[in-house]
């Protein structure tokens, strides 16, 4: 059999295409020059300046509040959805499945728009709460997706055996189901968290004064004259997300997509 030369060549080209811009960005964050074009020596001045920027720290704080709260609520709701779909194969679950997955299909602009109009109609002022509600809504499906994938290998006999020997519903839930699903629940939560802290498009519709998250803040920095601090900030973010990705990968043997 001939070795697939052409497909190998394309694959290497695509990987280079994916990583070269990120690499250049990381390198230029250490460039002393204000303009990316030429190298003026290694410097950490943009990082220093970054850590002195109060607004960024405020945005980081907002991002974490939103990320953690939305992750907790969506992990609970998403795990419930997944377990019910797996355990009861009824008409109700078909609706639940369809509804959960539709949230993944709707373009982000549409979801942002629809949430804005909902809050407008109900006279809810925009702020951290509206962002949390919105993030929770789109995170539920991601958690459900990951947990449902793990449930495919779940042995239901264990539950029935436990019930036969008289285990109560709470005992089954807290001693069997939740511990067995813990790796999947955790990696679903991490996926939700990563997506929440990164979201720009949907958030931009429901953000209010003073509640800017980090992506919203970065967008503003880029829009109104890109400063080299954005390179430094981006580098830190890339490193954090890569670390999170490896951590999630090690939680579940199956790849999380």
């Amino acid at each position: 059999m001939r070795r697939p030369r052409f497909s190998g060549f394309v694959s290497i080209a695509v990987l280079l295409f994916l990583y070269i811009p990120i690499l250049i960005l990381i390198i230029s964050s250490f460039n002393a020059s204000r303009f990316g074009g030429e190298w003026e020596g290694f410097s950490l001045r943009w990082y220093v300046r970054l850590f002195q920027d109060r607004e960024i720290w405020h945005a980081v704080q907002n991002t974490l509040i939103v990320g953690v709260t939305a992750t907790v609520i969506s992990t609970v709701l998403g795990s419930m959805v997944a377990y019910a779909i797996f355990r009861f194969k009824s008409y109700l679950q078909k609706i639940s499945f369809l509804l959960t997955y539709s949230t993944l299909i709707l373009p982000e602009v549409l979801m942002g728009m629809s949430m804005l109009l909902l809050f407008m109609t109900l006279f809810v002022p925009l702020g951290l709460t509206t962002i949390i509600i919105t993030h929770t809504t789109f995170c539920i499906a991601y958690v459900a997706l990951v947990v449902l994938a793990r449930l495919e290998h779940f042995n239901i006999d264990v539950i029935e055996a436990a019930q036969d020997v008289g285990a109560s519903l709470t005992q089954v839930a807290f001693k069997i189901v939740i511990p067995m699903l813990m790796p999947a629940i955790l990696s679903g939560a991490l996926l939700a968290f990563t997506i929440s802290i990164d979201d720009y498009i949907i958030t931009s519709f429901v953000v209010g004064p003073g509640s800017s998250t980090l992506p919203i803040h970065i967008y503003g920095m880029i829009k109104f004259g890109a400063t080299p601090e954005v390179n430094a900030l981006s580098t830190i973010l890339i490193l954090i997300t890569f670390f999170l990705a490896f951590f999630t990968q090690s939680l579940t043997k199956e790849s999380v997509v």
């Binding site: 059999m1 811009p21 250049i24 960005l25 639940s96 949230t103 728009m113 929770t136 790849s255």
Partner: protein, 290 residues
């Protein structure tokens, strides 16, 4: 002692998430579509009663051009993603499990890193002072006056960059199930390698291709950050117009009507896909296979 039956357990597990998604997903989506039938007041704001005026305004020349441009940009980006993802998915599927894991990780990793940051990386690369431009000028491949940013191809390039992992993964998953012996049998029967690729391999990964098209087409149809940051006036897409109508013009009904167009643009390919799959299912039953 009475134990709660499975029925009440099912409702207990299903109701809270169902309630949340109804209130914050179904209702808002319905509201958007409803607002398209509301009149606008002169200084922004929503009027009383109902009207078809906003829907009629969709059939103006400028809106039709906008829709055409959106389709053109997103379909081109999707096509390029497919052309690159098919050989790559094919290649990854034929590697040893260890190499496969590594390659998949490398494909997925950029998806984890910040969306805004990835687009910004290209903005600074394509910038007149950026490295790519400087390099190409140095190699005498482009002149000093060439502008990369604001061009439709720059927008397509960055769309491909951001969404290509979504195309590679479903094609890889389909290619992995493909039995290579079928490919060799086809060549033994006299097909050329290229012909076997088109006549045997591509049809058998059809579902993966469909998945890839949907996963790239849906976000690119609704794109607004990429044309906003990378593009210029020639690359305005539906998403940009929706944002502009909402936040600049304060014309919510117009934004809602455009959202309805986008909704249809996403909904129709999905219906098409499920119809095709249903038909496939039927032919399979006729053949008696599975």
């Amino acid at each position: 002692m009475s134990k709660p039956g499975p029925r009440s357990l099912e409702w207990g597990l299903t109701l809270p998430p169902l309630f949340w998604l109804t209130l914050f997903f179904v209702v808002p989506t319905a509201i958007v579509l409803l607002y398209a039938f509301k009149p606008t007041e002169l200084y922004g704001g929503i009027g009383e009663g109902w009207t078809l005026e906003t829907i009629r305004a969709l059939f103006t020349r400028s809106t039709l051009i906008l829709i055409y441009r959106t389709l053109y940009l997103s379909l081109t980006a999707t096509l390029i993603c497919l052309i690159l993802a098919v050989p790559m998915g094919f290649y990854i599927a034929r590697q040893r499990p260890k190499v496969q894991q590594l390659l998949l990780m490398l494909v997925v990793l950029p998806f984890w890193s910040s969306f805004i940051v990835r687009i910004y990386a290209w903005k600074s690369l394509l910038h007149p002072e950026g490295m790519l431009k400087q390099l190409l000028v140095y190699l005498h491949l482009v002149s000093e006056e060439t502008v990369f940013l604001y061009h439709p191809w720059a927008v397509i390039l960055v769309m491909v960059y951001v969404y290509i992992p979504f195309a590679i993964l479903p094609i890889f998953a389909a290619a992995q199930k493909f039995d290579e012996q079928v490919f060799e049998a086809a060549m033994d029967l006299g097909m050329t390698r290229l012909k076997a690729f088109f006549k045997v391999f591509l049809p058998s990964i059809k579902n993966g291709l469909f998945g890839a098209v949907l996963l790239v087409l849906i976000p690119t149809l609704g794109a607004y950050v990429i044309p906003d940051m990378i593009g210029g006036p020639d690359t305005e897409m539906l998403g940009n117009k929706i944002v502009q109508k909402t936040f600049v013009d304060r014309n919510i009904p117009a934004a809602a009507a455009l959202s309805g167009v986008l909704f249809l643009g996403v909904f129709l390919p999905l219906v098409f896909q499920s119809l095709v799959q249903k038909r496939q299912g039927q032919t399979h039953t006729v053949k008696g296979g599975h």
